[in-house]
Subunit: 458 residues, 2 copies
């Protein structure tokens, strides 16, 4: 008898799962239907700022696979179909066909909940003015690009996260005078510690991007229905920034409303609880991606990061298991990388702040180095921070800020972290060296040595 | 009572050891004298091709520390002093003061043998002609740079190793028509498998560097005492390449003659045998660097690589142990990186060929990818080869050839290899992603997946 897999959300996690399930089970054994509320499936959300900035010329470049390509593999993707309710007892979903204007009821044997994340919003007066946008979906990217094409002079980006900074780069690239407003003491919090975030802020200012830290947006002002500026509070004072365009990047939250309504339990992180096979607590229902939680391999805590890497991996493993396999999702480190113009940023594991919060007695060492041998003509500064457990020497995390070639080094650190290495064991690892690429002791090894030395000093 | 440490060879290994020993023990406890045959100490041999090519303008840029800087730390470095004999019973070395023209006899309590490597030579008619050079010491680099300054039109580089290729880049950069002659089927053997080496050859040819494989140099021709060309044998036929400059890069061998004469035992690799603390089999005598062997962490075999990374690490650990510490040198992977113009090359662990030789039932997967997201405007091709053990799934090694950002990824693989990961375990490691840096599945993860899939297919 043919079983039916219904997938809610046809993006990274959902379509990775569908593809794997199809790889494991033929169409006569498993029917696969994926419902997607938007018109886009399987796209690179991380590429959106680069479309807005004109680095990537065509929105189609961000599409990994189209519904037609999935159809060729016997995966039925229905765009503009919004799942409105899940009946887990009857194993049935209610679906609204947004284009056709009708309601469907679809039975399932297996359900994958891959509804993703949605932008965090708070009530801000004026948020409905023209020229005010989020950047979450490809439709948002298209709308923002249209705003850029209208050649605005000034922009304010509210929020100093990955997306905010990448949009700042995009706007810079398009010649728009840009201000980033962050409520915290720096940017990229909590992904970076404040001292490292401050280095990013200093660099951004050097590039001509205004950064307002410790500043809270209060209202948006407008004229003729179009945004004209942003009113902010800082240090009990007030500030006003003119803006032809405002991008709200306040972060995102897991899209769990449908799951919650259906009684699918959430975990401590606020995302859908899953076991190490990506099963929820409800029989026949699996979850993966931004809406699902994951175990942090260092802290052991339940976390919920919205990263394409994790969504793809969880989706793949959910799909293998739905297809009859037996694979464990081994957890996350929160490894991430970005760039702001010529400055690269990488991070993995716990920050000094989150390590303390998790109860570790922390060693944190920050040092300046270079991306190549110091005499190499293209050498650029690079700062690395390493966090270790004082008692055991175990590596807990690292952050890198620097020039070309700096940030991808975080992968070597992530690999060490994954293997629960001590900083002492890292010192002698046989990493590569040539003058155009590093000093003879790669900064990753120097970082480990600094932390090991700091342990001895106590 | 003050002990005396005598160091033979004042380069990476020797001076790393001296520095660490000094860090552990004060000058009243340990006197340190380092004898160096040449005029140069503590220099970056890996930087020499870049000085020859004019990328690094001053030879002094390649000097990490001068004798005066060591003197300030109570380390007595004596250049132009050649140790000519070691009496291990009397704990005494005979030293020739090359500048002063006198002989010394110096007692030691502890001896570090760090004599390095010397160029491999074979009898070639015409090798003494003007315009024919090796590239080993800084004096060689200065001499080659003088030849380049005389604006030669044509050059032949004999040997397709790291140094040969880096010199080819240097010559290209200086507008010299350059031919690389390799006796093997490709270049960078045995560091790369032939299929990967062939990709390097193809790229070099695309850059306008002539590469002659399977070609053996027979003689050098000259006129008025200056070299004019190279006569070669290929496929039973003969070939002749005109050359105003010839660089002989036939590889290097450990400098063990002095040790052998003193009865310090060598290991299977032909280099000085050392235990995991860098002690030789002779009481009071330690060895480190290019002249000492090391255990390969994957094959378990004794190997002898001439890499600055290993020399520095062995020197550091020998110095700590001489200073009274207790550190183990944990072995090597042979991780290395280089570039030829815009092509990057990285490698770690065993190749397919050396893995077979070591008795493994090998899986080898080669695949083409990109350095960034494929839609990123600066995306460049990148080929990765991964080698794994069929029975256990254990990673054995990897090779990368590709554009900017490709090769340093080898460090993440080296870190996995160091931790004896299986390719299955590597698939889900939380590595970083953003479109300007990689696809959402980094090629390192895809490589692991390809190898894991290949295991399943059997």
């Amino acid at each position: 008898m043919t079983e039916r897999l219904v997938v809610i959300g046809a993006d990274a996690a959902g379509m990775s799962a569908a593809s794997q399930a199809r790889r494991m089970r033929g169409p006569h054994d498993l029917e696969i239907i994926a419902f997607e509320r938007s018109t886009w499936v399987s796209f690179s959300a991380c590429g959106e700022p680069y479309f807005v900035g004109g680095f990537v010329p065509r929105i189609e470049d961000l599409i990994a696979r189209t519904p037609a390509e999935f159809a060729a593999r016997d995966i039925d993707v229905r765009i503009r179909h919004e799942v409105t309710a899940i009946d887990t007892a009857a194993r049935r979903v209610a679906v609204r066909d947004l284009a056709g204007g009708r309601d469907l009821s679809v039975d399932y044997d297996v359900l994958l909940y891959a509804a993703g994340a949605r932008p965090l919003r708070r009530a801000i007066a004026g948020a409905d003015l023209a020229g005010v946008h989020e950047l979450h979906t490809l439709d948002d990217a298209l709308a923002l690009r249209r705003l850029v094409d209208a050649r605005p002079r000034t922009a304010v980006i509210v929020g100093g996260g990955y997306v905010g900074l990448e949009v700042a780069e995009a706007f810079m690239h398009e010649g728009i005078a840009t201000t980033v407003v962050s409520s915290g003491p720096a940017v990229l919090r909590p992904q970076l510690d404040t001292d490292m975030g401050e280095r990013v802020v200093a660099h951004m200012r050097g590039l001509g991007i205004a950064v307002q830290t410790e500043t809270r947006i209060e209202c948006l002002t407008g004229s003729d229905g179009r945004v004209t500026g942003v009113g902010c509070a800082l240090d009990g004072d007030e500030a006003y920034f003119p803006a032809d365009v405002v991008v709200l990047g306040l972060g995102s939250v897991p899209e769990v409303r449908l799951a919650e309504a259906a009684g699918i339990p959430l975990g401590e992180s606020g995302a859908v609880w899953v076991d190490d096979h990506l099963r929820t607590r409800v029989p026949g229902v699996w979850a993966a991606g931004d809406c699902a939680e994951a175990v942090h391999r260092v802290s052991g805590q339940a976390v919920n990061y919205h990263l394409g890497t994790i969504a793809n991996k969880q989706g793949r493993i959910a799909g293998i298991n739905i297809g009859g396999g037996d694979e464990v999702f081994p957890g996350v480190l929160g490894t991430a990388i970005t760039k702001i113009c010529d400055l690269e940023v990488g991070r993995t594991g716990l920050t000094e702040a989150t390590a303390r919060d998790a109860g570790f007695d922390v060693i944190a060492e920050t040092f300046d180095s270079t991306t190549t041998a110091d005499y190499w003509p293209e050498s650029e500064p690079m700062t690395m921070k390493v966090i270790a457990d004082r008692a055991s020497g175990r590596l807990l995390g690292a952050q890198i800020v620097g020039g070309a070639g700096a940030a991808k080094r975080i992968d070597a650190v992530a690999m060490a972290l994954w293997n629960e290495m001590t900083v002492e064991a890292m010192v002698n690892v046989d990493l590569s060296y040539a003058p155009p690429f590093s000093s003879v002791w790669d900064p990753v090894l120097i970082a480990a040595r600094k932390a090991a030395d700091a342990r001895k000093e106590r």
